[in-house]
């Protein structure tokens, strides 16, 4: 399989994975920083919560003037660890050393005094205030709230190439600009070590590049960056050193120059990665879903009407998985919403199993056999505060076993919930607990179980394994494959290119609301797919037989590090 070649070429390199061995000088980019003491040292950090040990025996050494990446699966304990370092939580055991001095942080305020600042994943900015006001808020004593503060902001912004304008309203800024304001906020408070929690999760590839440039700038000025992520391609491109966390403890460090994403992933997971690959083809020639010339326009926040979907046409046959690749925000969610009937298309025809459903409401479409694993399960797939059995009814309230006529059949619904919990291995103490108390993976398994329980003709799976642990991921893939063998048509949307290539029978690339290219998953590589996703290629993507590039980046997800 061609897309596996990308790993195979990489594995020729010697892996440089060693347990807790400090990285040697060759990964240091600025020679000046080698002599200084470590910016942060964590030794033997253990943190217990009732019933769980979030962190145990964590050892991390972050050298000054480097970008140090912390990688691990969701729930591995990265965030808890960073909360400890930032003073939001106190460790039960272990020591924190900042700039060679052992410290105890009781609050984020203490951490800031020591020069440790954090940029949260969810921005903490007041939309209706200006950048200046947001930056000085809470730190009015530092440089006042007037011209002195403005001058300081300018100074910091220029020094690190952040390009922050102090007098614009935050609500007028895009996501990337807001992130830079957050970074500036931390620098303004005198931070020398920045913790960035999943900073690229909200950015598009170009913005990621710009962020990485900023980080290199910070590094060049002798600042230290701790970068939390699970996007391995990005980590390899920006980090000077990588620490891997698994099940709450550090399992090793890696040198990004000599490590591949696959090795890193296996270190993260502690096992061979499951493969999304689909073996035999089950595609039939019976069309299940036909979309003809679908178009949709929306009014964006500036009041401008723009097309979000235009001229979308495709057919999914029984037993076929159609994968849609694309950078997020290029119309994929809108496409799902339109097929589900949650948005009304401006034009075009949607046919399901021979019946025109273009005008049918969502409920009718669901009853007719469309199952949906939504992109954002908390917003669209679950009632978080309702018990599991009510969540099992959600979306299928008119169908058996949930109701008889207009009356709910609670007994049958509860019994069926127990079946789903059993068959889909939802880890829960019972069906009366709320959905919110389950982990993401188990929530997803419940959703998959629910959608599969109504014999769908078409399954729309948007990022079906996002935020799901590896075990659950393999299971969800198995279930999709199983259903496909029985004649299910699947519309798969995913940002995980390996998943997309591995599961799909046909691939289409979506760019700015159009399907711009198609590819054969048997021959395409993630790199080619990635470049098509940025709009660089169109039409039918042919597999290029020239040797693979050795960089372990996943398409546009991982911009290359121009060794500076």
């Amino acid at each position: 399989m061609a897309h596996r070649v990308f790993f195979a070429t990489d594995s020729a390199c010697v892996p440089a994975l060693s347990s807790h061995a400090p990285c040697l000088g060759e990964c240091v980019i600025k020679a000046s920083s080698t002599s200084s003491p470590n910016a942060v040292e964590l030794r033997g950090i253990t943190k217990r919560f009732p019933g769980v040990v979030a962190n145990h025996d964590i050892d991390i050494t972050v050298r000054r003037g480097t970008v140090h990446a912390l990688v691990g699966e969701n729930g591995a304990g990265k965030s808890t660890l960073m909360k400890i370092l930032y003073g939001m939580q106190k460790p039960d055991e272990g020591t924190i050393t900042v700039d060679g001095e052992q410290v105890t942080f009781n609050s984020p305020g203490d951490a800031i005094v020591r020069g440790v600042g954090m940029v949260h994943q969810h921005f903490m900015l007041a939309d209706n205030l200006t950048v200046l006001e947001n930056v000085v808020l809470g730190s009015e004593k530092l440089y006042g709230i007037g011209d002195k503060a403005r001058a300081k902001i300018k100074e910091i912004s220029d020094a690190y190439g952040l390009g922050v304008r102090p007098d614009v309203l935050v609500e007028d800024l895009g996501v990337a600009d807001r992130q830079r304001v957050e970074i500036l906020k931390v620098l303004y408070r005198g931070a020398r070590t920045l913790i960035l929690d999943e900073p690229t999760a909200v950015l598009v590839p170009q913005e990621v590049d710009a962020l990485f440039d900023n980080l290199r700038e910070l590094k060049a000025e002798g600042l230290t960056v701790i970068f939390i992520s699970h996007k391995l391609g990005e980590v390899l491109s920006v980090a000077d050193e990588i620490t891997v966390i698994r099940r709450g403890t550090t399992v090793g460090t890696a040198d990004p120059k000599q490590t591949t994403t696959k090795q890193l992933a296996e270190l993260m997971v502690g096992a061979e990665l499951p493969s999304p690959e689909t073996r035999e083809s089950t595609v039939t020639d019976v069309p299940m879903l036909t979309v003809q010339d679908l178009s949709l326009s929306a009014v964006d926040p500036d009041g401008v009407v723009r097309a979000v979907l235009s001229g979308i046409s495709f057919t999914i046959h029984k037993g076929e998985v159609l994968g849609i690749a694309g950078v997020e925000g290029n119309g994929q969610s809108e496409l799902v919403d339109t097929i589900m009937g949650m948005r009304t298309a401006d034009g075009g025809v949607v046919t399901l199993d021979g019946a025109d459903i273009s005008a049918a409401p969502t409920r009718k479409r669901r009853e007719d056999g469309i199952g949906c694993i939504p992109e954002d399960r908390h917003r669209h797939g679950l009632l978080l505060e309702a018990p599991l059995w009510e969540n099992r009814i959600l979306g299928h309230v008119t169908e058996k076993p949930n109701s008889k006529g207009a009356i709910l059949d609670l007994k049958a619904a509860r019994r069926d919930t127990e079946r789903i919990v059993r068959e889909y291995d939802v880890r829960t103490p019972g069906i009366d607990v709320t959905a919110a108390s389950l982990s993401g993976g188990n929530q997803q398994k419940l959703i998959v179980g629910r959608e599969m329980s109504h014999d769908p003709k078409l399954l729309i799976a948007a990022h079906p394994t996002r935020g799901v642990d590896v075990g659950a991921q393999a299971q969800i893939w198995d279930q999709i494959r199983e259903a496909r063998r029985e004649g299910l048509a699947v519309l798969l949307i995913s940002a995980d290119l390996d998943e997309l290539i591995g599961l799909s029978d046909t691939l289409r690339v979506m760019y700015r609301g159009r399907l711009v290219a198609d590819a054969d998953p048997a021959t395409i590589t993630p790199e080619q797919l990635g470049s098509a996703m940025t709009g660089a290629a169109a039409g039918h993507l042919e597999h290029d037989e020239s040797p693979e590039s050795p960089a372990g980046a996943e398409g546009t997800d991982g911009p290359e590090d121009e060794a500076r």
Partner: protein, 370 residues
Amino acid sequence: MKKFDKERVLLAIAAPVLAIVAAFLITALVLAATGKEPFSAFGIMFDYGVKSDSQVYIINKATTYYLAGIAVAIGFRMNLFNIGVDGQYRLAAFFAAAVGGALTLPGIIQIPLIIVTAMIVGAMWAGVAGLLKTTRGVSEVVSTIMLNFIATAIIGYLLQPGRLGHLDAAGTKVATTPLPESSHFFEFPTTPTPIYGFVVVAAIAGIGYWFTLSRTRFGFDLRTVGQSETAASASGVNVKKMVVTSMLISGGMAGLIGMPTLLNDSYEFGGDFPVGIGFTGIAIALLGRNHPIGIALAAILWAFLERGGQQLEFENYDREIVGVMQGVIVLCVVIAYEVVRRYGVKRQQRQVGEKLAAQARSNDTTEVSA
């Protein structure tokens, strides 16, 4: 699983009990601050409140309050704040009284006609807010408050001699034409005053509310919208239609609020028709956690406090103390529910975590030994 449920019930009861105890304590402090002995005041209220004529009064008042609580609770379950229950029930009662006074049909036809008129008027008035919300995005909080004022103005305009009102013989009071004798609702003969027969309708309304919300598809859809509009729309509920429908139902229920008074007591709509019950309904729905039985208990408590407060005046206490107490209860209830809810969520997450960690540990050991 059994244990899980028992603790959950305990948690559910903890909040209102906590709130009421806290409210009594705070009221005691207020009384003490004004130089009055607090606990004898509570004693007076209690002694007077349980007297047999007080019981009748409380049941009759609670009937009205219960309907108000249910009307508000329907909105709450949808995450809609129908502040307009007040205007809806007054307008409904007014038109129902006007229709009832104008006709002399047999009671078996006329009484349902009056009730249906009230429900339709209430529903229409609430429906205006529903339509404004779905078509123009106007918050129902704002529009229903405005509609309350408009309802007051409409009643003020129409309730005049020569329009729908007329001056009584004494020349002191303007009211609608009294209902004919045949349109009086039945009552339970008790001394000295009878219990309203409408308490039966209120009970039916409560059962209907419970059944519709927890046992029907429609109720499930309605609750889904209340919990998450996005999930509801993804699951196939037409959210806009549901907003209008639930406003109509809430308004229709609000139409019933004035009926115990109209059909069992005043038999006409005059300037002295009770006002402000819609707002009481908000407090009662909050206190009763939108639960049909909780609302009944809250309605009875409210009526009891009011009854007890009447006696305080004769004992040289300020009767406003009851208002203070009711206000404090509402505040405490809101706080206590949030505290208990958060505690409950945390507690459950912890329990789930513990159980799963225990399972995982036993799995791990088997894997190792395997």
